[in-house]
């Protein structure tokens, strides 16, 4: 594997990031402010926490479209438990547990059920969000205890929020795992050639299952943070996030064909994405127009290398 093009891709992302900083600080005098920037991180931390394991999954040649559905399901589970008087710690465990269970369902469908992951997770995406709608209907759950707000609204030290700290720790952990261990090498190998990897004695399906479970767990974590930050649960919570999260991963230089990618790229892409969202918000541009931008970016990111490759 040649590392040079990826280094180039990541330095390009870093350049874009610097460009954004320059642009937004020129547009708004309030942009380059510690508190403003601290607020801006909330635009990507929750999505990025799911994008990290999803990057591993896509590198391994699979995909999970159900992540936003899992967030909705986990949030509903927490909302119902809060209605029964559960405390903050119990709620967090329920959210994480629901996410993990949902991820295991995906993993079982793909490994034991042998369903292609895109089809399986289109199904479970409908299933999970459908369950959220079936349980809640048009109701809103907001009987969360006050202490529950800490996860999504609390700060660890100064301007560093708990969410940001979690993101930084996770990013380092994922980077060490993917680029520093033989398990990480196996993830790349599975994405590049699953059959050859299986023939080299690596339990491919066990890796796949674990990665789906991990993505589910991370979606559960995102559900805890998002629900805590919003303080309420609607069945439409995190609607459309799967698109944004997949966009972050692909923007980070992870190949949709599997076998290639880096955590650094995904982290930079999450920062680029979060700053754009925040900047467009500064300019009062509505979210739906933002989706034109996200969609174009998504296509450009895969189209540009394809154009360059052509003779």
């Amino acid at each position: 594997m040649t590392l040079a093009p990826f280094k180039r891709w990541e330095s390009m992302l870093a350049l874009v990031l610097v460009g954004e900083f320059v642009l937004f600080s020129a547009i708004s005098p309030y942009f380059l402010d510690v508190d403003t920037l601290s607020d801006a991180t909330f635009n990507f931390t929750e999505r990025a926490l799911v994008a990290l394991p999803l990057a591993l999954l896509i590198i391994a040649g699979e995909i999970d479209i159900s992540v936003a559905g899992i967030i909705a399901l986990a949030s509903v589970a927490m909302g119902l438990a809060a209605g029964q008087g559960a405390g903050a710690a119990t709620l967090a465990i329920i959210g994480l547990g629901t996410g993990l269970a949902a991820g295991c369902v995906n993993g079982l469908l793909v490994t034991v059920g042998r369903v292609p992951s895109i089809v399986a997770t289109i199904g479970t995406m409908t299933l999970f969000r459908g369950a959220a709608y079936a349980v809640l209907g048009d109701r809103v759950l907001k009987n969360y205890p006050e202490s529950f707000a800490t996860f999504g609204q609390g700060y660890l030290a100064g301007p560093v929020s708990i969410e940001l700290a979690l993101f930084v720790v996770s990013a380092v952990a994922y980077a060490l795992f993917l680029h520093g261990t033989r398990w990480g090498r196996a993830v790349f190998a599975i994405g590049a050639n699953p059959v050859a990897t299986r023939f080299s004695g690596i339990p491919v399906n066990r890796y796949r299952f674990a990665l789906f479970a991990l993505t589910g767990l991370a979606s559960g974590l995102a559900a805890v943070l998002l629900t805590s930050r919003l303080g309420s649960t609607r069945p439409s919570i995190a609607q459309g996030w799967e698109l944004e999260i997949i966009s972050i991963v692909i923007l980070g230089g992870v190949s949709v064909w599997g076998g290639k990618g880096s955590i650094l790229g995904v982290v930079l892409a999450a920062l680029v994405f979060g700053l754009i969202t925040f900047g467009l918000g500064l300019m009062n541009i509505p979210g739906i127009v933002m989706s034109i931008f996200t969609g174009t970016l998504l296509i450009l990111v895969v189209a540009v290398p394809a154009l360059v490759r052509r003779p």
Binding site: P116, I118, I122, G123, G130, V195, V289, I292, G295, V302
Partner: protein, 328 residues
């Protein structure tokens, strides 16, 4: 299950028969419990409700046959529906023909955009159509400036088009019936359908046989887009309102209908008859929910259960051909 009449049946035909029996069983069960379900009036309503799903699913089938997926159909539908509504508002006296032409051509162009990216740049279909999905939705917002086009801004012909009755069925139902009949015939008897199956079943072999698999993918996206565009006008005419979020998430129902109808996500296998049955299966479930007394909020969950069950079953059928060590 080794019944004599099965000999010589293709796997697809056998699956279609199973699905037909299953759909019939579902229909009989609901009718036994609620006789009103089988009344001509109710059945006409069921067909009217399922008509757009049938047309979109038949278009989606073409795309899945050539190993693609079109997640942008619902957004395409909504954009073309908005275009039709805006055109009608600006030129209320122009009649229906230009509106039909506009939505069809606009849809075909949006589909061709997907097709070009998949064919010429060989981009992964799921990424392309996820991208165009959000672009098309955003463009609707820009076109309409976020406002709704309501019934009182539409001409009477525009709204009446899909509702006109002919032999007891609405125009919309007739559209779906004629469309389905044409699809069933064409998928069996035309050269282009053969080429689609060949390109999806084995692209390399198809290329050696003189069929350009990329070109077939382009044609499939073009057709799927044109159908979605036409359905945009039909949808807006039927519900008499156009706004940014119409048919939000409908692409999943369309794909669900294809999967239930036995279209293989790996490409190359599936039949128009099966897709029609898949749509009717979903349609029967949807229209029996209020009778059984289940809230409409359960619809999505039930769809999810049906999709997961359908893909699990179709994955089981392929299992025996796999080697022990093979990874997938």
């Amino acid at each position: 299950m080794k019944l004599a009449p099965y000999r010589g049946w293709s796997e697809t035909a056998r699956r279609d028969l199973h699905l037909a029996l299953l759909t019939l069983a579902l229909f009989v069960i609901v009718t036994a419990k609620f006789p009103v379900f089988a009344s001509p009036h109710n059945l006409a309503g069921l067909l009217d409700d399922t008509a757009i799903l049938i047309m979109l699913a038949l278009g989606q089938m073409l795309v899945i046959l050539v190993r693609g997926i079109d997640l942008s159909v619902a957004a395409n539908l909504a954009l073309c529906g908005m275009l039709a509504a805006l055109f009608n508002r600006a030129f209320p006296g122009a009649g229906i023909a230009p509106v039909l032409a506009l939505s069809l051509v606009a849809g075909a162009l949006l589909g061709a955009f997907n097709g070009i990216l998949v064919w010429k740049l060989r981009l992964p279909p799921i990424v392309v159509t996820l991208g165009t999905l959000s672009i098309y939705r955003g463009v609707i917002y820009l076109l309409s400036r976020g406002a709704w086009v309501n019934e009182n801004e539409m001409s009477r012909e525009f709204v009446g088009f899909t509702r006109a009755q002919f032999l007891g069925l609405s125009t919309l139902s007739w559209f779906a019936l004629v469309f389905a009949a044409a699809a069933i015939f064409e998928m069996r008897h035309t050269r282009i359908a053969r080429n689609l199956y060949a390109a999806g079943g084995n692209p390399e072999a198809a290329a050696y046989a003189g069929i350009d698999p990329g070109r077939m993918q382009f044609i499939a996206y073009l057709a799927s887009g044109a159908i979605a565009g036409l359905c945009g006008f039909l949808w807006v005419s039927r519900f008499a309102v156009a706004y940014t979020d119409i048919a939000l998430g409908f692409e999943l129902q369309v794909i669900a209908a294809c999967l239930i109808g036995g279209v293989a996500i790996a490409g190359g296998a599936g039949s128009a008859g099966g897709v029609l049955l898949g749509c009717l299966f979903l349609g029967i479930i949807r229209s029996s929910l209020p009778l059984v007394g289940i809230s409409a909020f359960w619809q999505m969950f039930i769809n999810g259960v049906v999709i997961v069950a359908a893909v699990l079953l179709s994955a089981r059928q392929r299992r025996q051909v796999r080697a022990i060590l093979e990874a997938r």
